[in-house]
Amino acid sequence: MAKLELKGIEKRYGNMAAVSDISLEIASGELVCLLGPSGSGKSTLLRIMGGFEKPTAGSVLIDGVDVTASAPENRPTAMVFQSHALWTHMNVFENIAFGLKLRKLSRAEIARKVDAALDLVGLTGYGKRSPLRLSGGQQQRVAIARCIVLEPKILLMDEPFASLDQHLRERLREEVRNIQRELGITTVFVTHGQDEALAIADRVVVMSVGKINQVGGPADIYAQPQDKFVAGFIGAMNMIDGHVSSGVMDAAGFKVSVPLPDGEATLAVRPEKLAIAAQAGGISASAKITRIVHFGAYRTVEATTDGINRVKIHADTETVLEPGQDIFLDPVHFSVFKDGHDVFRSAAVSR
């Protein structure tokens, strides 16, 4: 149980800033996801926490102790690498025991702890196997066991399941979530998969181009993106460019009254927040269905408004819909972005 603090972290490679102006507090026992596209600096930030990179500026504090200058071996952190990074010249037991041996524990104690760790990740009895003879999921479980056996204060995970298939990835992240809860270990989890972040995180830190865009709970991040990047990166979002004149925004037929000065703005509506109506009404816009894709539980309807803007709508499977059909679209909930920032949110779901 430990608190992790980042204060004004910056990392430059020559003239290029990989991360800049990062300040973040992670509470004891919290699971925080660093989420962003590749090149957003999320892995660099994680490596700074682990001590593998020295920040150009700023400091890292664990339980109030400044560890910025400490080498990885002197930090109470443990990292699970994307490539699992198991030592192939040792068997599973030796991999997990390596860190314990360095801590000069007795042979019996090491055996007990390694067995407990193997039990925890569901690999009881796999100690004598070579890591090369395990499946991808098992290898990553060993890597997790290798970390948690040392009872680190902070667990760092660098896209641990990126190389696994979808099904296994979902199962392992549930397991990681359970283990994390059980041990109450403060965890930072890097991923570029928004579904992964939303599924397991207590809080999500959305990053792009080396900066933090938004920090918040999964539901908040999804429902109330603070800027255009977050809105587009988390979940699907219809972004419709429009124009405001004398308090009314016209975006491809959607007419919304907004308290904004005249100029360009963008209307953002999630596919499930667009209702299909037979008649015009309120702020709805007319549209023509171009394509319907079935996903079992729901359908995705693609339609054009004003003949040019393509929007996506989630629709139930009962209503009769056909390509070519004329419909009206009614935004149940929407946001308006100006200069990339959230400036207006429809009252329907505002808190």
Binding site: G50, G51, F52, A71, P72, E73, T77, A78, M79, F81, S83, A85, L86, W87, T88, H89, F98, G99, L102, R103, A143, R146, C147, L150
Partner: protein
């Protein structure tokens, strides 16, 4: 089925090559096990191991064997201690002139060796190293640098950096990480390099001769003397066969590592 002309020509070239390569070796082998072999006979008239016994019983052969083994072991181990960390530095660290430094090893090996060793021998003369065990070790160490730096360096580069980071992460310092993780991961290439070093040191003649002779004589020198200066051919033949074994084993082993294109990677940097 018609046999093509190219097949026939190819076969003839092949036979000539086989004869050219295999015949001398076969002759040496036959001589080693021949007790009598007079002119018209195609094969030795009397076979036996008599000359093996007499060769191995000779005092000069035994002392040379002991010296050669001691030299090869010392040079190989010393070379490993000096070159492996250097190889790691070349593989992992970026420093000014890294490539130039790496190329300089090639340059040393391109230099006519004999000339170089004569210069060193003159230097050693004033340092009173001529005729000493450590004098030979020093001069032979020079020859091992290329293979002991280049080959492991390529292997180190092939070790996933995250394996080392994971070791640091669980609490191992840089030196322990190098010994416990990096070296075992690069073990096949390091083994091959050490074997090649051992063998090349064992057979090295110029340095050992110029610095060591006449006080210290290694196996190849004794063999040379037996082949050129003795009427009894068998002594030389027995020694040749005897000395062929270690290099053959080394080659078989090294072939596997070299074939895995790590050597090529070493040159490609």
């Amino acid at each position: 089925m018609k046999i093509r002309a190219s097949t026939i020509v190819g076969s003839i070239i092949m036979l000539v090559l086989i004869a050219y390569v295999v015949m001398p070796i076969a002759t040496v082998f036959l001589w080693a096990f021949a007790e009598k072999w007079t002119y018209p006979a195609l094969l030795p008239t009397e076979w036996g191991l008599k000359y093996w016994h007499t060769t191995l019983a000779r005092a000069d052969v035994l002392s040379a064997l002991r010296l050669s083994l001691a030299l090869s072991v010392t040079v190989t181990l010393l070379s490993a201690v000096i070159c492996l960390p250097a190889a790691y530095a070349f593989a992992r660290m970026e420093f000014v002139g890294r490539r130039t430094f790496m190329m300089s090893f090639l340059a040393i090996n391109a230099f006519p060796r004999f000339g170089l060793i004569v210069m060193i021998a003159t230097l050693f003369l004033s340092l009173r190293l001529v005729g000493t065990f450590w004098g030979i070790v020093l001069v032979q160490l020079l020859n091992t640098m290329l293979i002991m730096i280049w080959l492991p360096s390529a292997a180190f580069r092939g070790v996933d950096r995250r394996l080392e980071e994971a070791a640091r992460d669980v609490g191992a310092g840089p030196v322990r990480t190098f010994i416990r993780i990096t070296i075992p991961q690069a073990a096949p290439a390091i083994g091959a390099a050490m074997l090649l070093t051992f063998v090349s040191t064992f057979y090295e003649t110029e340095g050992a001769w110029l610095v060591g002779a006449p006080k210290l004589r290694t196996m190849p020198m004794v063999m040379l003397q037996m082949i050129t200066g003795q009427i009894v051919v068998q002594y030389g033949a027995v020694l040749s066969v005897l000395l062929w074994v270690p290099s053959f084993i080394a080659l078989l082993f090294a072939r596997r590592v070299l074939a895995s294109n790590q050597f090529a990677k070493g040159f490609g940097a």
